[in-house]
């Protein structure tokens, strides 16, 4: 942190700081409360619409949370904003699409899996697309780290950030060359039919699918970081690189594994985004990346739980803005959240880096 003012309230929970809050925090709380009341009024007026929108928000939030984890993991370990991460997500959705089309580089491996296919084929197709996208994005992320970030590990931060921006443009244009400038449609493999018997509240199979895929991924990641040797090494490197290498941890390998994990999550998220929204486009990574970064900052960058919480919150804020303010204002709204969080609570809701570093206080 740059100034003492920011570091002052580093430790302590949300409640503590609310009690000992400055006028800034109080203003923020009042504004948030006011917006919540407005939302509540809408919820009472038309509960069905509100809850349907909430479901969409939560589902989008799950997709955002997976990308946000990639930002937060990398930031926690080498303090780099990996601008290329959003575009990695886009590559993930493209890889998934290619797997489902069954044709790669002009070689037809199997006939395309479309919405008319049988249930078993659909399940196999979706799982295959997810697996391949996760593998490709994981390896891609590791390769980017090796080629572009590793040689600059002791260089000034400005140089690494500029490299990350350059990588982001390279990936985005690879997507442009690969699939062209227009939006590309995804086959409808997961049904948009409503699960619930009533028509009032809409909870589709799609929503269930995204949530059902996200939860095991989150649990798996949490298990990996908490309980495995490699996870322990990650936490150690995040805390102190030099000391970690002194006790025999391979720092370079650990950083690579961090990028691998981030890439895997981005790949899964990309495929789910495509299946959920039915389309993808070469520059989808820019705004999804910005949303995910906002989520990571909102939760507290470097904090894994924070990224997930932030992801869901951003998803919900986005869905509510879509519904009650207007779709064209969503990106402006989410960006305002980013700026407001940075102004009022730069360490995020749950405090930064605490999860990776093993406790913030």
């Amino acid at each position: 942190m740059a100034t003492g003012e920011v570091t002052k309230g580093r430790s302590g929970s949300l409640l503590d700081s609310a009690r000992a809050s400055s006028w800034q925090t109080r203003i923020a709380l009042v504004v948030t409360a006011f917006l919540l009341v407005l939302l509540l009024v809408q919820a009472v007026r038309d509960p069905a619409q509100f809850f349907s929108q909430l479901v969409i928000g939560v589902t989008n939030g799950a997709i955002i949370a997976l990308v946000a984890l990639g930002y937060t993991l990398v930031y926690g370990i080498i303090e780099l904003i990996n601008f290329a991460h959003g575009d990695n997500f886009m590559i993930g959705s493209f890889v998934g699409l290619t797997v489902l089309s069954g044709t790669f580089a002009g070689i037809g491996l199997f006939s395309p899996i479309t919405g008319d296919a049988g249930t078993l084929l659909k399940v196999v197709g979706v799982l295959l697309a997810l697996a391949v996208a996760m593998a490709v994005c994981g390896c891609l992320n590791v390769a980017i780290e090796r080629v572009a970030y590793k040689p600059l590990r002791n260089a000034p931060r400005l140089a690494v950030l500029i490299t990350a921006i350059g990588m982001s443009f390279i990936l985005q244009n690879l997507g442009l060359i690969w699939k062209g400038p227009a939006q590309v449609p995804f086959p409808e493999l997961v049904s948009s039919a409503n699960i619930l018997p009533t028509d009032a509240i809409i909870f589709r199979w799609k929503d269930l699918f995204v949530l059902g895929m996200t939860v095991p991924l989150l649990l798996g990641l949490s298990y990996f970081i908490r309980n495995t040797r490699q996870g322990k090494a990650m936490r150690a490197v995040a805390q102190d690189k030099e000391a970690a290498s002194m006790v025999g941890i391979n720092v370079n390998q650990t950083i690579s594994i961090t990028f691998l994990l981030g890439g895997i999550l981005a790949g899964a998220s990309g495929v789910m985004f495509g299946l959920f929204n039915g389309i993808t486009v070469f520059n989808v990574g820019f705004f999804q990346g910005l949303y995910a970064f906002t989520a990571a900052v909102l939760g507290g960058i470097g904090n894994l739980t924070g990224a997930v919480v932030g992801g869901f919150l951003i998803g919900i804020i986005g869905a509510m803005t879509d519904q009650y303010i207007g779709v064209e204002w969503t990106s402006i709204m989410i960006f305002s959240v980013l700026v407001l969080v940075l102004v009022f609570r730069p360490r995020g809701l749950l405090g930064d880096r605490s999860a990776v570093q093993g406790g913030g206080s």
């Binding site: 942190m1 931060r157 400005l158 140089a159 990588m167 400038p181 820019f286 960006f335 102004v343 730069p346």
Partner: protein
């Protein structure tokens, strides 16, 4: 003698620039190419790059949304010197006249007043966006400016119905912006009375004077108290603060000054192309300008100018030329992909690679600033708070 050595190169370059219309007409006679229009555009970008150089080169902050100030400058001209606000009719020192002699609808202020207002407005916006984020670490500024640079054009795109008020005219943009000019001049200087689209040299001299002023400010800042404060803050913020420099104010000055020049350039560009659209201020433009600064050499004025010329030249001449070559090769060997590939469409692929390669192999740029070069090659940089610090403190 030292005086001669110090000033020979700049004076020669300025002289060559001042005489450009002369050798342009010579080139036109000899090779049948008129470089006036592209040179004016390049000069606008030189001005933008010099503005960004204050932020990236001097203060060492990464600004990824510089296009926002450029857009703000252009829209200020759109608002204050066109028929956009038809509800009112204000005119002052303008070149806009109506044939019927009635009052022209819209706000029509003299371009020279609007130019100053555009710079001031951009600076104000720079302070508003910079003040909260500059307290934080430098990489947060990068992402906030990235968002800001994307949101401003989007706001201009959506701003045609703000509670029923048409502020920005949406995707259609603002049309028919007034030309600059000095209406009070005698008729003998008619080209200067109202800058036309046929005689481009008044435009050229205007932007040249603006760029020279920018260069003067850049040079004077470099060795000023503020310039030295920037160096110390970018190298080690904590140490600078301990020596009594306020890092936030120092960085805010850099950000506001950079924004001002962005606003000036935008105002000129808006008046020059006459019609502005939100889509012409995309995120790509920010990266385009950043690449000029990085390629030429962060913190070196000659370098930045060279970078702007090289990148613009690549974009407008080299890439279309390569496309023609590749397409004819493709036709010769009968390869359909090569014969139709549109290279300029993928320009940012090439620019992205250039950014990465520059950072990996020559982060100080083509013409380096000596001090900056040493910082960028320092194996053991200072504190991790400033952007000059390492990735992991």
């Amino acid at each position: 003698m030292t005086l001669l050595r110090k000033y020979a190169l700049p004076v020669a370059l300025i002289g060559a620039a001042l005489l450009f219309p002369l050798w342009n007409s010579f080139l036109e006679g000899a090779f049948d190419v008129n470089l006036m229009y592209p040179v004016i555009v390049v000069t606008v970008y030189i001005m933008l790059a010099l503005g960004l150089n204050i932020v990236v080169g001097f203060a060492g902050l990464l600004d990824l949304g510089f296009v926002a100030f450029y857009a703000l400058g252009a829209y200020v001209v759109g608002w204050l010197a066109s028929g956009h606000f038809q509800q009112v009719s204000v005119a002052f020192g303008t070149t806009a006249t109506s044939i019927t002699g009635e009052e022209v609808p819209g706000i029509h202020l003299s371009f020279w007043i609007v130019l100053v207002l555009a710079g001031a407005f951009a600076a104000l916006c720079g302070v508003i966006i910079g003040a909260p984020t500059l307290r934080l670490r430098g990489d947060y500024l990068a992402i906030v400016t990235l968002g800001f640079g994307e949101i401003i054009p989007r706001f201009f795109q959506n701003g045609d119905d703000l509670g029923g008020f048409n502020l920005t005219n949406g995707t259609i943009g603002i049309k028919a912006i007034d030309s600059p000019g000095f209406p009070f001049l005698p008729d003998a200087l008619s080209a200067w009375q109202r800058f036309g689209t046929l005689e481009l040299y008044p435009w050229f001299y205007t932007i040249l004077v603006m760029v020279l002023a920018t260069i003067y400010v850049n040079v004077r800042l470099q060795n000023s108290r503020l310039g030295r404060a920037w160096i110390s803050v970018r190298e080690d913020e904590t140490a600078a603060a301990a020596m009594g420099i306020n890092p936030v104010t120092t960085k805010l000055w850099a950000y506001a000054l950079g924004a001002t020049f962005g606003g000036f350039a935008g105002a000129f560009y808006g008046a020059f192309i006459k019609n502005i659209f939100p889509t012409s201020f995309s995120f790509n433009v920010s990266i385009f300008i950043l690449l000029m600064v990085v390629l030429g050499g962060m913190g070196n004025i000659y370098g930045v100018i060279l970078g702007a010329i090289v990148i613009q030249g690549t974009n407008f001449y080299l890439l279309p030329q390569i496309k023609t070559w590749v397409n004819s090769i493709g036709q010769a060997v009968g390869n359909q992909t090569l014969a139709t590939v549109d290279i300029p469409k993928y320009s940012f692929f090439i620019f992205g690679i250039m950014l990465v390669l520059m950072m990996l192999f020559r982060p100080e740029g083509i013409i380096p600033n000596r001090q900056r070069a040493e910082e960028l090659h320092d194996e053991n940089p200072g504190s991790g708070d400033a952007m000059g610090g390492p990735v992991r403190a």
